[in-house]
Amino acid sequence: MIWEVFRQEKPGKYHQHCGNVHAPDRDMALMFAQIQHGRRMQTNSLWVVPRDEIGEVDTEDAKFGGTTDKAYRWAMTYNNVDASFAAEVEESEDEQREAAKKREAAKKQEEAQS
């Protein structure tokens, strides 16, 4: 059976999906994951999860971010006021701007393809 592998680089970081392995049981899956995914890349911890246990929804099935204009949810919308007075507000706005940019780019690409 197939096991999806998630690697955490350093303590405190997120486990991120990095690939999968064939293995007959969990112990073997952990061993193969170490060999394939934990040896060269910096690794603090690995998770293995049976593929069948994973639920998925993707852009075929869902409109992530919705279909209506949700500008009111973004800090950038409120540009009559300036976030620079507080570092944490500014940082949050930067993260949101980055996320919005990525979503926009993905949308454009999708439109160009269809």
Binding site: G12, K13, D52, Y72, R73, A83, F85, A86, E88, V89
Partner: protein, 314 residues
Amino acid sequence: MDLDTVKARAGPRQFSPKDDMPEEYRKAATRMIQFHANSEVMGGYLDKAFTRMAPSLDRKLACTAKTQDEIGHAQLLYRAAETLGVKTREEMLDELERGDGKFLNCFHYPVSSWYEAPMIDFFVDGGAMRRQATLKSTSWEPYAHAMDKVCFEEGFHVKHGEDILRELMRSSKANQERTQEVFDTWWPRILQFFGPMNSESTHNDFAQQVGLKTVSNSELRQAFLNAYIPKAEKYGLEIPDEPRIEYDEENGQYRVVEEDLDWDEFWTIAKNDYEGSYEQIGSRRQRHEAVSWVREAMDGWEQSSAGTTPQAAD
């Protein structure tokens, strides 16, 4: 792990559910995260009132989005608290319902007008966000991870809150006066948001020693005042004469005269024994009960086995 090792190792995101943490740590972390989660729930319920009062469709949309975010923050935090193995989410929600769960002082005061929206959405969220940003470096990893997502979203809350304040303070004289009036009422509560300073709260030291908390309440309040007093003044709000606040030009610090604040009220609130506490906890309980059928239906569904498939390959 013994307590001395915990103190020696304490640092940002140092401990996770894989570590065998001493009971003192797990209890202190649970107390802190549960308080935080409860505050998100009660803040969300308080905020909910503004959707109806909001003067435009855009504002209503933003208010519902914010309420949704806050309840989402509560969900993340109860999950983070559960990972300590001291209390289940159920238990924590029951405590909140019974009136035993503690939460931030500012959410014990029912709101009744739109003028109060920027008091919560700008000043209180701003103070909360300042604190939350420092909690990205808390030692309990699941708590820090929750803060990553919370802080990502909070920038919208604070900017939207400031935008409301700006709008009100640039409109009619009457609106400006009403906003000033509610600011006079809210200002001392906002100062108390960071807790009492001189006798820094009893759990504070331990929380700092084990890295749960990285910044003291007085440092947080200082940073808050430095950022938010100039904002209030920029929009033409006058800082009330009482409580007295002195600005020390030399070190750029504000000094609040603690005796001018009503600490009896603060401690009554801390026991959930203020009039507003009963009102806020009670109205939330009613709404919570009104949708109990949804939770029951979901539990029934989970028990009828549809929730998880049996464990594979073990």
